[in-house]
């Protein structure tokens, strides 16, 4: 409505030989933005106030304020409109502002994540010394809720938050996953980019990418229901003892989940290696395999390394597979057939129960989250830098 009013007023000027500065539609949009923005701002303000329980405005009053502000804006906008008014610039400024706000949300998200994790972690480290957290080998938080409830009892053993076994478990499962994913992913990428025909590649790549599209909860189910018993049985035939919550099953499945990350990214970087290098090498009388090993792969190495780093950060942050298939008990061992737990499992465990939010046990989830965040960011930044270097080499 405001659009047509603004446009109409603008058009009325155009009759007497005056050329409008901007297209009529812009005057309409100008009016719209003057009616919508104040109204929106007010509603937002009130709803925020409502959420924080500062004060609640009755609905009719809210409506009235909104409408009032809106019409005031409209009147203001209409009074501004004349032939010389630069409506286009004004509207574009508003649009630009909107877009900028949207862009800023990504920053806010990061800040949100960092702050939420850091704040709670700080609270955690007030209770548990950071050094104990990093180097301790015992994770026995069961009594923490007592402290949280203020019932410090001498007879209760103090809770222990030594995260080393958790990190070890994470590392072990990630390692298993990478042992599966890197060779398979890399060789699959080599095959797709160097041996398969264009057509075959067009089919193979999406098929592999299905693996990345399967929800992790499904992988978790599959690992827990199908793979774990399988591993226990196989271990048994070899005379080995394996837990049903062994690290091997989630590791294997996680590896398979990660294959497409490595294969697709590596495929891209391998194909980015200029064809002329391959021709150059083949013309020297080298075999295809020699060309790939000595020329193509070294050239694509930074990209492949970065793909692997991304895959690692994916693996350590993966939650559902380990929650469903790995154990809950922190276990410092090198035997993949034993049950062990990971950072993400502990985060989920600490936050899904009906725990007091103040208990050190709950807060430990945020401390673990902080570690996870730092690890991922470091891996990601390294990988971005490596890729950038790779790009510079060939562009």
């Amino acid at each position: 409505m405001a659009f047509w009013m603004g446009r109409g007023k603008a058009l009325s000027f155009e009759t007497d030989d005056v050329r409008l500065h901007s297209r009529p539609g812009f005057y309409g949009l100008y009016a719209v933005s003057w009616i919508a923005l104040p109204a929106l701002a007010v509603s937002l303000l009130f709803s925020i106030a409502h959420i924080f329980n500062l004060f609640t405005v009755p609905a009719p009053m809210l409506l009235a304020t909104t409408l009032g502000l809106g019409s005031a804006g409209l009147w203001f906008a209409l009074s501004h409109i004349n032939a010389n008014f630069r409506a286009r610039q004004a509207v574009e400024k508003v649009m630009r502002g909107l877009l900028f706000t949207a862009a800023a949300i990504s920053i806010l998200t990061t800040i949100g994540i960092v702050l939420s994790v850091v704040f709670e972690s700080v609270r955690f480290f007030k209770v548990i010394p950071i050094w104990d957290f990093i180097t301790g080998t015992q994770w026995q938080p069961d009594t923490a809720f007592l402290i949280g409830a203020g019932r410090t009892n001498e007879s209760v053993a103090p809770p222990l938050f030594g995260s080393l076994p958790i990190f070890a478990g994470t590392f072990m499962i990630t390692l298993i996953a990478m042992l599966v994913a890197v060779p398979i992913g890399l060789f699959a990428a080599i095959y797709m980019s160097e041996y398969a025909s264009h057509n075959a590649r067009g089919h193979l790549k999406p098929m592999l990418e299905i693996l990345a599209g399967i929800p992790t909860v499904v992988y978790g189910f599959f690992a827990a229901i199908t793979i774990s018993p399988l591993i226990v049985n196989i271990a048994h035939t070899f005379g080995l003892e394996a837990d049903y919550t062994n690290a091997l099953a989630p590791g294997l499945i996680m590896g398979i989940m990660i294959i497409p990350f490595i294969s697709s990214l590596s495929d891209d970087v391998i194909r980015a290696v200029p064809q002329s290098l391959r021709d150059g090498s083949l013309a020297l009388g080298t075999t295809k395999a020699e060309t790939i090993r000595h020329i193509v792969l070294p050239a694509a190495l930074p990209g492949i390394v970065s793909a692997c780093l991304l895959a690692i950060s994916r693996a350590i942050g993966e939650t559902m597979i380990v929650v469903m298939a790995a154990g809950l008990r922190p276990n410092l061992t090198a035997n993949p057939l034993e049950g062990m737990t990971t950072v993400t499992v502990k985060i989920v465990e600490a936050l899904t129960g009906d725990q007091e939010f103040d208990s050190a046990f709950t807060l430990s989830a945020f401390a673990l989250g902080l570690v996870l965040l730092i690890a991922t960011l470091i891996l990601n930044i390294i990988s971005i830098m490596v890729v950038r270097k790779f790009r510079q080499q060939y562009e």
């Binding site: 200029p274 002329s276 290098l277 150059g280 090498s281 013309a283 020297l284 009388g285 080298t286």
Partner: protein, 253 residues
């Protein structure tokens, strides 16, 4: 006076359904420079790539006829393509040094083919190859810097050094100077003139002046046919065929 090194007999080549070469007969003489000229898409590069079977890599590429290298058919079933390419080296249009050190660029192929052990043998081989490609003086103090850091002309000479390090009989050059400035071009041309004492050189070029400057023989291709082949002097002063005349005088299309 000149012994024939490469002998092509009624060579036909198809890319899928389309015939790109319609029965080429040509003999390349040993230790001479032959230039293949002709408009784009005339089949000269295709022919060049047949000579070390780089066309094998292209799907749907089919060949009929014979290419004899010293009398042996290089398309015979028992021929190992990889070994063939050690005899017929190739230098490409765009300099394509490997992203390795200068030394490694040259040493790569000899090492794979077992032409020299490591250590002083290999050092010697690398130095000789670089010397013969007249780039030794420029790079001897920076053998272990990346080959990609050299200038375009130096890169191309490095690629030539890399090629001759395998001791081929024939060197194919696919527009080796088209990406280079005139001075770098002149250096490569001077180098080609040197190299023809040892190698049979077959080059594709789009610059007729270049063909005229450095080749001993010139072959003119048009639409997949060999139109005229002869001594460069003759081709450039009094070609027999009207098409050749039109092409080299710039009266085309």
């Amino acid at each position: 006076m000149n012994t024939s090194k490469v002998n092509i007999k009624d060579l036909k080549l198809w890319y899928g359904e389309s015939e790109a070469l319609h029965g080429i007969d040509i003999e390349f003489s040993e230790k001479r420079v032959t230039a293949l000229i002709g408009p784009s898409g005339c089949g000269k590069s295709t022919l060049l790539r047949c000579l070390n079977r780089m066309n094998d890599r292209i799907p749907g590429c089919r060949i009929e006829g014979q290419i004899l290298l010293d009398g042996d058919d290089i398309y015979a079933p028992e021929v190992d393509v990889v070994q063939l390419r050690t005899h017929v080296g190739m230098v490409f249009q765009k300099p394509n040094p490997f992203p390795k050190s200068i030394y490694e660029n040259v040493a790569y192929a000899p090492r794979i083919h077992g032409l020299a052990g490591s250590g002083s043998d290999m050092d010697e081989l690398v130095e000789t190859a670089l010397r013969r490609a007249s780039i030794w003086k420029e790079v001897k103090d920076k053998l272990h810097t990346p080959g990609t850091a050299l200038s375009g002309g130096q890169q191309q000479r490095l690629c030539i050094a890399r090629t001759i390090a395998v001791q081929p009989n024939v060197i194919l050059m696919d527009e080796p100077c088209s990406a280079l400035d005139p001075i770098a071009t002149a250096k490569i041309e001077e180098l080609i003139d040197e190299l023809k004492r040892e190698f049979t050189i077959i080059m594709v070029t789009h610059s007729m002046q270049q063909a005229a400057r450095i080749s001993d023989q010139t072959a003119f291709f048009y639409m997949g046919d060999l139109i005229e082949f002869g001594e460069t002097g003759t081709i450039f002063t009094q070609p027999e065929k009207q098409q050749t005349e039109d092409y080299i005088t710039g009266r085309f299309g």
